[in-house]
Symmetry: C2
DNA sequence: CTGAAAGCGCTAACAG
DNA sequence: CTGTTAGCGCTTTCAG
């Protein structure tokens, strides 16, 4: 068991201060005699010393701990994002505490409260709804950075880092239309999410230039962004049209998984001529014989920008506003 | 900003203890007068109060925080596992701090040290190597539970929760052989990992009953359990045999991803007649036209057992030893 | 160069 | 029923 500074001091018959000075590498600065320095160092080398962050935090009112609240880690996008963010935080000496909301507002609020009680220095949140986002800004006692989602609250002083989903939606749709001009359908899971709204809007902008059809024929919606929703939409589609879409964009990887799952169940296989477009790429999608377009979100940049925004807020010079990261098109041709 | 107990006491002209008693719901027990009780409650209702866990932790020498150290969250298995574990911890009032090692021993040790400094009450680890596992048990100052991997250290008093990988390897191989008796190949990423060793051993037991071939012809190995390794093994296989395996088991989902990626790159598509077997199932794999067998690990049970083991250690009545959870076969027929 | 002391907000024990 | 006190291990400030 590593000792506390006081224990070391007693064992060595020097004052606590002296010990601390060498432990915090201020020995030179305070010109501790090399002899005592060595004494302490040797003792530590043998018995070890681990700084007690709890005590330190209490005194300094700073825990070097940050919170991250995401919908679910089983979503590969959030898994990757939190991986990146954790690495970045650690580089700067911060521990990250990650929790999942499962899309439950009330639970999300409890998570945030739990993090505040733990005196985290700040919290990253991918909020579930506009309501929950506003709840957080209204009750915030800590630096707050919204990640991936910003519901465009009317409240001021919000820092949010998101992907340029409108551009992503447009670019994706446009690329698919170049390949095959016939209808490209869109399955939207939870159309209240700003990410989805933006992607749909990009889709619309690209589609209306070539297609005059009523949107109802092209866009399916489902209340949640879960695998079941993708399944439901696909089943409804097949029931109605008697076939799978010629080309399909899903609003998220999860929805695409549900949709393809339904196809596989109904038809026994995924028709290879069905063109697929999605956000949040995942290797396995490319194993299909289908042509797959996907927008790769820049998780690295999202994490880096989010951390920077957090650091600035912690330092007391917050830079509020929306920061946008671009996604890049992964096309089946390249 | 929520007040501290002392601030409330001053504002209300009662003693700190009185305030704390009602805050900790011990008002009844100590028969605080309803009047003062109400006074405090009203004040809290208006101004709020958030318990300072840092101070509490310092005093109680207990943080209600646990650490989790895994190779990477971008591995869907660990993402799901940490999701389950986080939920379970929270149910019991614990916060979980998750970090990724990226398979780096030195970094892993630093992560554990960082968690100890934060005074976590215990640490879950999926260790990178036998060496790192032994390092942790040797230097442990906290309850320790190994997750998913146990290198079978000779040191005593280890608690580990793992999947029955030998059985999983056997069951998987056996099922595939029933379908198609010709050679079933095995791609092993990082054959020093106990999970992989056990899966290979299960494979061997199943295979030797029907096949007399030299193992070299059937098993490929690569030093790491990463996507590149799967790719390398597949490329080598194709170079040597001029074709893809008739049936392939990969030691992990990651390796399978790499292998299929190589196939797709070399041949333009995954030959549909290639039978696929893997551990750690993932929906998307089932979208292939290939027959896919997979062993579904019981992440729920792993998380629950790990948490229980941790709780027992924290309570001072450790139950050491290996706890095994069974995986279930997902066959293409069902 | 080294030492002493205050105090972060809480819990626990004891004193009225 | 309510109040006082010590002390968790650290940082910070002031005194030698």
């Amino acid at each position: 068991m590593a000792k506390t500074a006081e224990e070391i001091a007693q064992a060595l018959n020097v004052s606590i201060t002296t010990v601390r000075l060498v432990l915090t590498n201020k020995a030179e600065q305070y010109r501790i005699s090399p002899a005592t320095q060595k004494k302490v160092e040797d003792y530590v080398a043998e018995h070890g010393y681990t700084l007690n962050y709890t005590a330190r935090s209490l005194r300094m009112k700073k825990t070097y701990t940050l919170g991250l609240v995401v919908p679910r880690l089983s979503n590969p996008f959030f898994a990757k994002l939190s991986e990146k963010l954790e690495t970045r935080c650690r580089q700067e000496g911060y521990q990250l505490m990650t929790s999942c909301t499962y899309g439950d507002e009330a639970y999300e609020n409890r998570l945030v409260k739990a993090l505040e009680e733990r005196n985290v220095d700040g919290i990253f949140i991918a909020p579930t709804s506009k309501k929950s986002q506003e709840h957080h800004v209204k009750h915030r006692k800590k630096p707050l950075v919204f990640l991936d989602r910003d519901f465009g609250s009317t409240l001021p002083n919000i820092a949010a880092i998101v992907t340029d989903n409108l551009d992503a939606g447009f670019t994706l749709t446009d690329a698919m239309l170049r390949q095959q001009p016939s209808p490209v359908h869109f399955f939207a899971g939870n159309p209240t999410l700003p990410t989805i709204v933006a992607r749909m809007e990009g889709y619309r902008q690209a589609i209306t230039s070539v297609e005059k059809r009523r949107e109802d024929d092209l866009i399916s919606c489902s209340p949640y962004d879960a695998i079941d929703d993708g399944e439901l939409m696909m089943n409804a589609f097949i029931d109605r049209h008697g076939c799978t879409p010629k080309a399909l964009i899903a609003s998220s990887l999860t929805v695409m998984e549900g949709a393809l799952f339904a196809v596989k169940n109904r038809l026994g296989a995924i028709p290879p001529e069905m063109n697929i477009g999605t956000f949040d790429e995942y290797v396995m999608l490319s194993f299909l014989t289908n042509s797959v377009w996907s927008m790769r979100q820049d998780k690295e940049a999202l994490a880096a920008n989010a951390f920077n925004a957090m650091e600035e807020q912690i330092a007391g010079r917050p830079k509020f506003g929306l920061q946008v990261c671009r996604a890049t098109l992964m096309s089946p041709l390249s």
